[in-house]
Each structure stands twice: as structure tokens, then as C-alpha cells.
Amino acid sequence: MAKLMVDKISVSGSPAIDLTIAVKGSVTLDKDTADELTKGVEYISGEKIDVNVEVIDEATAKYNSLRGVINTDVDVTFYKGVDKLFAAKGVRLYPKLELSGSAVPKITITGGKKFGSSETITNHIALPV
């Protein structure tokens, strides 16, 4: 399987915040709440999306922009070139900033959302084509 290389991660907003320098990250879709039924079968009633993005050496302007989306719902889209790879929709993010005397500035952006398993998945996540 070919390794996916992300060129850009974009956080929606006015304007959108494009993260392009040394970016890496992930969007994980997983079960959140499950009830065990008879015979050990699980009934999954809730799902969750976790977003984790790491940016280095792109601190001041991007960090200030990212602070502007705290406590608001945003879409996070991963790009290869101009092509969209996948996205998390309507998530809340928090950018954690770490500055160190021996390393480049690092912003770790984490967040996510939860939803019922009966909901339409494409309302919450865009999967790779």
C-alpha cells in the first residue's frame, strides 16, 4: 500500500487556516458507546471522531489564527496537492503551543466530536475516495 503524504491541512474559518509546514496528523473514527448484548455481541450506539494534528516551525501567525477557532465548530481537511484526501466535519479544536529553547515551536491541535451511530456518517466525516 502506498504511503499517504499530506501536503496541507486546512481548518475552516474566515479565512481558512492552511497549515503547510511540517504538518502531520490523523482523523480517527471509532466506536464510543457500546452495550453488550446476549452472546457477547456488541450494540454500538455511539461513535466518535478524534482529530490530531501536529505543526512545527509555523508558530506566531498560525497560532494566533488557530486561537480564533477555539470553541467554534470547524471542518479539518487533509490535502495531497490540491486534492482532498479526507476530512472531519464540525469538530472543536484546541491548539496547544509548546516553545522550547532547543526545538522549533510546536502546535498540537486536538479535538473531535461524538454522534449517534444511526446518523449519516458523511455528515461528520469525509473518507478517502
Binding site: 496547544k96 509548546e98 461524538k114
Partner: protein, 146 residues
């Protein structure tokens, strides 16, 4: 770009500084710490949060923490700093040793200064600060980082 910083500390004034490049040892009540290049470190992270509908997290408060270690106790101003700043509200600046610019600048944060003197290791001074605030932008400013 990789940056190395020196740490400057003073008793909090509540007024900020207009020109962050004017931070010098002995100027504006600042004292400079001589540091090894592994530190200092500053972290801005969420503190008090509440999970809302759909598992979305609302951030009510943030925490700004910093830590700087000096192994240069004799030549530095560790003793003076301990007397003047331990358990007091301070302003902390990091100044780039390459560019000469000062950033970030943390205002009114409480300092804890720890001094360790050991027989077979270098003596060590650690300055730790922490402040919880509704908006980290109220207590920290960036002149230039990257």
C-alpha cells in the same frame, strides 16, 4: 527556525513593556538568567473544560506554564532572584540569543524558584511559573516566534 533563548525575569508591574527589545539585564528591573540551551520551555494548554452536546469540548480557562533551568548558579543571579521573586507575581521574557528579539512575554504569573546544590553535580536553579486565565492572550504576547 531553531531558536535559543535567555530568560529575563522581574517583579510583575501590570503595565507590560512597550518595546520588547528593550529587555536587558538591569534595565526595567529585569534580571537575566544564564541558561543551557535545552530550556526554557513554555506551554499554553487548555485547563478547565466542559464536554457539551456531541462530545464537543468547550474551553473555559487556559493555563500558561513556563520552566527555565540554569546550571550557572555562581555567575547568574539565582540567589537574588530567589529572594526577590520566589512565590511572587513576575513578568517573564524569553529573548532570542540569535536575533536579540524578545518573545514571548508572560505577564503577572506566579513564580516558584527551586535551588538544588549537590556534591557531585552542577548546582541547579529552576524557575517555574504558572497562571490560569480565561484567555491566554491576556497574559502572553508574541513579538516574533518563528
Amino acid at each position: 527556525m531553531k531558536h535559543f533563548y535567555d530568560v529575563y525575569i522581574r517583579q510583575a508591574t501590570g503595565t507590560g513593556i512597550k518595546d520588547l527589545n528593550d529587555v536587558l539585564d538591569g534595565e526595567n528591573s529585569f534580571i537575566r538568567f544564564g541558561l543551557v540551551d535545552e530550556l526554557p520551555k513554555i506551554v499554553i494548554d487548555k485547563k478547565e473544560t466542559k464536554v457539551l452536546n456531541q462530545g464537543k469540548e468547550h474551553v473555559f480557562t487556559e493555563q500558561v506554564t513556563s520552566e527555565a533551568i540554569s546550571f550557572n548558579v555562581k555567575e547568574g543571579n539565582a540567589g537574588v532572584a530567589y529572594v526577590k521573586f520566589n512565590n511572587k507575581l513576575v513578568d517573564v521574557c524569553l529573548k532570542s540569543t540569535q536575533l536579540g528579539s524578545t518573545s514571548p512575554f508572560i505577564e503577572g504569573t506566579k513564580a516558584t524558584i527551586k535551588i538544588e546544590m549537590m556534591s557531585r553535580e552542577l548546582s541547579k536553579v529552576t524557575i517555574s511559573t504558572a497562571i490560569e486565565t480565561e484567555d491566554a492572550s491576556d497574559v502572553i504576547s508574541f513579538y516574533e516566534v518563528a
